[in-house]
């Protein structure tokens, strides 16, 4: 079989992405028709920049979920190597030396093969899944930590603030790469330090939720007990499984090397979130509605979580988008230096690192993941920009 021409390659790629196109169209049609009822999310569809960003982000989200989660878009197994396909250019017909060729196998390497003869296109698609699996959740955890510590620091001020800010600055003064090199190594995993850090960091979401329910419903103890109870049971179960790998039911566990990466990324992001939340809190706590809550005898945590936090949601949402983008970059950095993830992993950072070594001769292995990462992060930045503009508008 001959190699495909560029127009064929593009057509075939578009075809492979069919589920993503359908999902994107459905999302946009639905969001557009109900945009007046969807609050800030709906207003996003008034801003061209925001829409473009959102489309780029959702493209990779759907790609990640369908490709990595449901094995839909990929054309070949991301780990399968085929010696004749080594460094072959885009559109090369698929051949195999050893074993019987699978008659159902996709007949081409759409974007060529890498230096080990793996399919670049499939690896790019599954690379999205590697990011989508980690980045949003790591950002969410960083937010939980940053909010739980930033609110009291900003609200009370004084010694507590001095201490927490000192800690935050301590972490921020570390060059991120140094921190990664110190934390994300097999030797450190052996000492168990990441597990202890996970044990501390993963407590924050539970603390956050318990404080949230308790402050809201402490006037109605029966309802409070239900909410707090459910949170504690589910939260601690997940906590035991994820942080300590000790789920009594044996259902929840977390691969140890992924845990290190996750912990490192949360750890690096939390201080920045802390600083933002602290600043916003110091600003909002001077408002009269906070004084009104104080004068009716509300407890501090109610004021922080229900009076201050909801009114900080605009800037926090914007930062959340930016932070997912930054986390994506951090994950790429980890992959680029071969830290944490397995060497076979199809994540974009590792693929770029593999590809760059032969860059002067072969472009095709390094460029697809580079463009993929660029477009996802750019999408998130544009989305954040659109959100910022729209949230400032009223």
């Amino acid at each position: 079989m001959d190699a495909l021409s560029w127009s064929d390659i593009i057509l075939r790629m578009l075809e492979q992405f069919t589920p993503v196109w359908i999902a994107l169209i459905v999302t946009f049609v639905l969001s557009f028709s109900f945009k007046r009822h969807l609050g800030l999310y709906g207003k996003l569809f008034d801003s061209p920049i925001g829409m473009v960003g959102y489309a780029m982000v959702m493209f990779w989200v759907f790609t990640g979920v369908f490709g990595g989660g449901f094995d839909m878009i990929v054309t070949h197994d991301v780990l399968a190597q085929s010696a004749p396909m080594k460094n072959k250019g885009p559109g090369t017909a698929f051949t195999q030396l050893m074993g019987t060729p699978d008659p159902n196998a996709y007949p081409y390497y759409l974007l060529g093969g890498d230096n080990l003869g793996r399919d670049v296109f499939s690896r790019m698609v599954v690379g999205a899944w590697e990011v989508i699996k980690i980045a949003p959740f790591a950002s969410l955890f960083a937010f939980m930590v940053g909010i739980t510590l930033g609110l009291p620091a900003g609200y009370y001020g004084g010694k507590l603030d001095t201490f927490l800010s000192f800690l935050a600055n301590l972490i921020l003064a570390f060059p991120v790469i140094l921190l990664f090199y110190l934390l994300v190594t097999p030797e450190i995993v052996l000492t168990g330090i990441p597990v202890y850090m996970a044990a501390v960091l993963f407590l924050f979401p539970i603390v956050f939720l318990v404080l949230l329910w308790n402050s809201r419903y402490h006037t109605q103890p029966s309802r409070r007990n239900v909410y707090v109870g459910i949170t504690l049971v589910i939260g601690l179960w997940l906590y035991l499984g994820i942080a300590w790998d000790a789920d009594p039911l044996g259902l929840v566990s977390f691969p140890p090397n992924l845990l290190v990466v996750f912990v490192a990324v949360v750890f690096v992001n939390s201080p920045t979130v802390f600083r933002i939340v602290r600043g916003l809190t110091m600003d909002i706590k001077t408002r009269d509605y906070v004084a009104a809550a104080q004068t009716r005898g509300e407890r501090p945590w109610y004021i922080m979580l229900w009076e201050i936090l909801p009114n900080a949601r605009g800037p926090l949402l914007v930062d959340f988008c930016l932070r997912i983008g930054y986390t994506t970059i951090l994950l790429g950095t980890l992959g680029f230096f071969g830290l944490g993830l397995s060497p076979e992993s199809p994540d974009w950072g590792s693929t770029i690192n593999d590809g760059r070594k032969l860059l002067t001769m072969y472009l095709h292995p390094a460029l697809p993941p580079a463009f993929a990462l660029l477009s996802l992060v750019l999408g998130l930045n544009l989305l954040a920009d659109g959100l910022r503009e729209e949230s400032l508008r009223d």
Partner: protein
């Protein structure tokens, strides 16, 4: 003012001590030491042999003592071997134990010995810092003025076509980490596949004689990522200042638009970005590590990767100390500069 600087310096020293201790702690954990023993000695060492090797070299003392020795505030260890040879931290090969100084930590200028480069850490750092200093200098020369101009042009007339174009450019560069932009640049400008071949894909030659051809790509790669961020900060700050009442006052005084921007807006608009430029250093350091690895420029960042990758504990410690100090000093400068730039903060 003196009081203020003194307090900041105090906090800075405290931070530096905490950070170096963390690094010291993490690098001196037992699995790391075990690996060190095996690379220095023999990969098939038994656990007992590892322990005795570490004991002989003073690695098994309590963490705090080791840290003190490394800093140079606790006398260096002196251990008498079973075969009667006296070994000590401060005793160099060939000198008598009696002649050796008692203290030999980084405070005495003794940074230790690199197991990878087989050289004094102090000397390595010196050489490498000079190389990276050259790189950073050109990065700053390229990044700061272009970022400020970009930001001011964009923020001067918020919402205009210029603003939208420049902002999109700035957003794109912040969305492009160095390992992506570097790869793209090499692909476009240096690879045989595209065939432009304007620049060199490696900067190894630039270590001795830097020229436009071999040095521009690494400089551009680092500068671009930080540039977008500073430009966006400047734009936001400029746009905010341009809507301020006093700008309207100036306009309605009859001041022409270029003068409004230059005389009234600029100084106020530059206060925020100044802090940002200084706080960019931890990020720039990241960029340096990535770019030096990517372009094979054997400077400070490259050394960090080598040290960390090869478990070269004393070199890694040295690298960490330097980077932490660089970051903290720039933060200090940013704090002090902020006070100078902003007349609203009065220092008595």
């Amino acid at each position: 003012m003196a009081m203020f600087i003194l307090r900041r310096v105090g906090v800075m020293i405290l931070t530096a001590l905490c950070l170096t201790f963390i690094v010291f702690f993490l690098t001196n954990l037992y699995p790391n030491l075990e690996k060190l023993a095996k690379t220095q000695g023999d990969f098939r060492m038994s656990d007992e042999e590892v322990a005795s090797y570490l004991g002989r070299n003073g690695y098994l003392q309590p963490m705090a003592v080791k840290y003190g020795q490394w800093l140079g505030v606790v006398p260096g260890f002196v251990i008498e071997d079973r075969d009667g040879v006296t070994r000590g931290q401060c005793i160099e090969a060939g000198t008598a134990p009696e002649d050796a100084p008692r203290f030999c930590g980084i405070l005495q200028g003794d940074w230790g010995y690199s197991t990878v480069f087989r050289e004094d850490v102090g000397k390595i750092l010196n050489d490498k810092l000079a190389l990276t200093g050259k790189l950073m200098f050109w990065v700053m020369v390229l990044m700061v003025p272009s970022a400020l101009i970009l930001g001011i042009l964009a923020g001067m007339r918020e919402g205009s076509r210029t603003d939208r174009t420049l902002s999109t450019i700035a957003i794109t560069t912040t969305a492009t980490p160095e390992y992506v932009s570097g790869v793209l640049f090499i692909a476009v400008f240096a690879s045989t596949a595209v065939g432009l071949k304007w620049f060199k894909g490696t900067a190894t030659a630039a270590m001795d004689g830097a020229n436009f051809e071999n040095f521009f790509l690494p400089v551009l790669t680092i500068a671009l990522y930080g540039m977008g961020y500073i430009a966006r900060m400047t734009r936001a700050s400029m746009a905010e200042v341009m809507t301020a009442q006093y700008i309207r006052t100036a306009r309605l005084k009859g001041v022409s638009f270029p003068n409004v921007v230059m005389k009234h807006a600029l100084r106020n608009a530059l206060i925020a970005p100044f802090t940002v430029i200084m706080l960019q250093f931890p990020w720039l350091l990241n960029g340096v590590v990535i770019v030096e690895t990517l372009f094979n420029y054997k400077g400070f960042g490259w050394t960090l990767v080598q040290a960390a990758g090869n478990n070269d504990i004393e070199l890694l410690l040295g690298v960490s100390v330097i980077s932490v100090v660089v970051v903290l000093v720039t933060q200090l400068i940013s704090d002090i500069g902020y006070v100078y730039l902003n007349p609203r903060i009065s220092v008595r």
